[in-house]
C-alpha cells in the first residue's frame, strides 16, 4: 500500500509536465490562439528542431560563459571568505562594500563592463563572477565560523598551526554551506551571462532571446526561454549532484 502511494507520488512528479504540455497544445488548437501570442508546444519544438545547430551553439556559448564565471566566482568567493575569517580587519574594511556592491543592480553598469572588456566571453564571465561570488564569500565565512573553539583547541593541542587548522578543519566544515552558495551562485551566474549578452554579444542565449524579440518571432522566443530554463535546471542539478557526492556527510536542504 505504502509502496503504491510512493509510486503514485513519484509518477505524479513526472506526469505533470506531459499533462501540462498536452493541455497547452489542446488549448492553443481548440481556442485557435494566434501563434504570435502563444505558440503551441509542437510549433516551438519544430522551431527548435529547425534551428538546432544555431541553438545548440547558443547554449554552448552561454553555458561556457556561465561556468567560467561561476568557477572564478567560486574561487574568489572562497578566497575572500577565508581572508575575512583570518583577518577581522579585512572583513570590517571590505565586507560593507561587498554588501553595498550587491545592492547596485548589474543592469546599471553592464554597459561599462562591455566597453571595458569587449563583447566576447570575458565580459560575460566577469558579470557572472560578480553576481555569484558574493553569496559564496558570505557562506564560506559563515561555514568557517561554525567550527567550535573546542575543535580548534583539539587541533592546536596536536601542535597544529593556522594552515593545518584551515585545511583539515575549517574548510571541510565549511564545505556544506559553500556548496549551498554555489547552487545559488549557479543560477545567478546564468542570469549574469545572459544579461551580459544583452549589452553586447554576437552569440549566446541572450542574443537568441533579444533578436527573437526584435524580429517578433514568438516561437523562436519561446525556444530561447525553454532552453534557458533547461540550462538553468541542468546547472543546478549538476551542482546538487556534486554536493551530494562531495559533502555527503551533511544532508543540506
Amino acid at each position: 500500500m505504502r509502496l503504491l502511494v510512493r509510486l503514485i507520488n513519484t509518477a505524479g512528479q513526472f506526469i505533470m509536465l506531459p499533462v501540462a504540455l498536452v493541455l497547452w497544445e489542446l488549448a492553443v488548437r481548440v481556442f485557435a490562439v494566434a501563434p504570435d501570442k502563444l505558440p503551441a508546444p509542437s510549433t516551438i519544438l519544430s522551431t527548435m528542431w529547425a534551428g538546432r545547430v544555431a541553438l545548440a551553439n547558443a547554449v554552448g556559448v552561454t553555458l561556457y560563459e556561465t561556468v567560467l564565471g561561476l568557477a572564478c566566482g567560486t574561487l574568489v568567493g572562497i578566497l575572500s571568505g577565508i581572508a575575512f575569517s583570518r583577518f577581522r580587519m579585512l572583513e570590517r574594511m571590505f565586507l560593507p562594500y561587498f554588501v553595498a556592491s550587491q545592492a547596485v543592480p548589474i543592469i546599471a553598469f553592464g554597459a561599462i563592463i562591455i566597453m571595458w572588456f569587449g563583447n566576447g566571453v570575458a565580459s560575460k564571465a566577469l558579470i557572472a563572477l560578480y553576481l555569484s561570488f558574493f553569496p559564496i564569500a558570505v557562506n564560506t565565512l559563515a561555514g568557517i565560523r561554525t567550527v567550535s573553539e573546542g575543535e580548534i583547541d583539539l587541533l592546536r593541542s596536536f601542535g597544529a598551526g593556522a594552515q593545518a587548522i584551515l585545511l583539515k578543519l575549517q574548510l571541510p566544515a565549511a564545505m556544506p554551506s559553500i556548496f549551498t552558495a554555489i547552487r545559488l551562485g549557479a543560477s545567478l551566474a546564468l542570469v549574469g551571462a545572459i544579461v551580459g549578452e544583452w549589452f553586447g554579444a554576437s552569440q549566446g542565449l541572450g542574443v537568441v532571446l533579444l533578436t527573437a524579440m526584435y524580429d517578433n518571432r514568438v516561437p523562436q522566443l519561446w525556444a530561447g526561454i525553454i532552453l534557458t530554463g533547461l540550462t538553468g535546471v541542468a546547472l543546478f542539478a549538476i551542482v546538487a549532484m556534486l554536493q551530494s557526492r562531495i559533502v555527503w556527510w551533511q544532508a543540506e536542504v
Binding site: G150, E151, D153, L154, L155, R156, S157, F158, G159, A160, A164, K168, L169, P172, A173, M175, V247, W249, Q250
Partner: protein, 275 residues
Amino acid sequence: MATSKIRARNISKHYHVGARTIHTLDNVNLDVGTGEFVTLVGPSGCGKSTLFNILVGLVAPEKDGELFIDGHPQALDHLLGSVAFMPQRDMLMPWRTVLSNATLGAEIDGVPRRVARERALASLDRFGLRGFEAHYPGQLSGGMRQRVALMRTFMFDRDTMLLDEPFGALDALTRALMQRWLLELWETNKRTVLFITHDIDEAIYLGDRVLVMSARPGSIKFEAKVPLRHPRSPDVVTQPEFVALKRQLLAVIEDESLKAFAALNQPAAAGRTAI
C-alpha cells in the same frame, strides 16, 4: 617518588569579566608520577578543565606558575603538542573515516600518512574497532565514537595523556565496559594518565591516586592513594577498602559541592528574600 612526570607549582588563573575578577584556579600544586594513573574529581565549575587547558598549553596561567615535565622546567606558553589531550566531546570529523580520525593527531604531528595508517591498522583490535576502520563517525554508537577519540589520543604518541571526562556522556553500562577496557589498555601501556571525572566510583576504580579539587577558586584540596592492586576486577567496588575510600571522598566532595552550590545561588537567594 622519583622525578614526577608532571610537576605543577602555583598554577593560578583569573579572568576579568568587566570590572570583576573571577579566580578560577588558586595555587594548584600537582604531581603525577611516571606511569601513574591519577584521577581528578571536584564539583562542577571548579576549574578542572581550565587546569587541563593550562597543562595542554591552550591557556597561559598567571606568571608565577611553574611546570616541570620529567624534572625539566617548561615554558608555559610553548606547551602545545607536548601531551596527548582528549577533550570531553569526541570531536570526530564527520568527513573522516574511523581510521583517518584516529590518525589525525599523528598526521598533524608530521608522521607520514602511510606510517600513521599502518600503525592505526595494527591497533584496531586493541581499541575494539576492527572491521569499522572504513566507517564514518555518523555510523557509530556513542561508546565506539569515544573509543575512536581515545585511539586518536593514543596515536598522538606522547608519554602523558590528559583525559577530560571521556566517559561522561555515556550510559552506565557502556561506561563500565569502557572503564574496564581503558584500565586493561593502561595496564599494558603504562602511560602517565591524568583523568578528570565527576564520578567518584570511576575515580577510585581507575586511579592509583585520587585528587579532589576545591570549589572555585580551584586548588587541590585532598588526595588519597587508592589501596587496590592491579589488575582490578569490576567487583573491586564492593571491597571494604573501596567503600571506605569512597565514604571519605564523598564527605570531602560534598563539602566542596555545597560551597560551590552556595556560591552559585547567592544572587538568586538574595533576590528571593527581597520578594
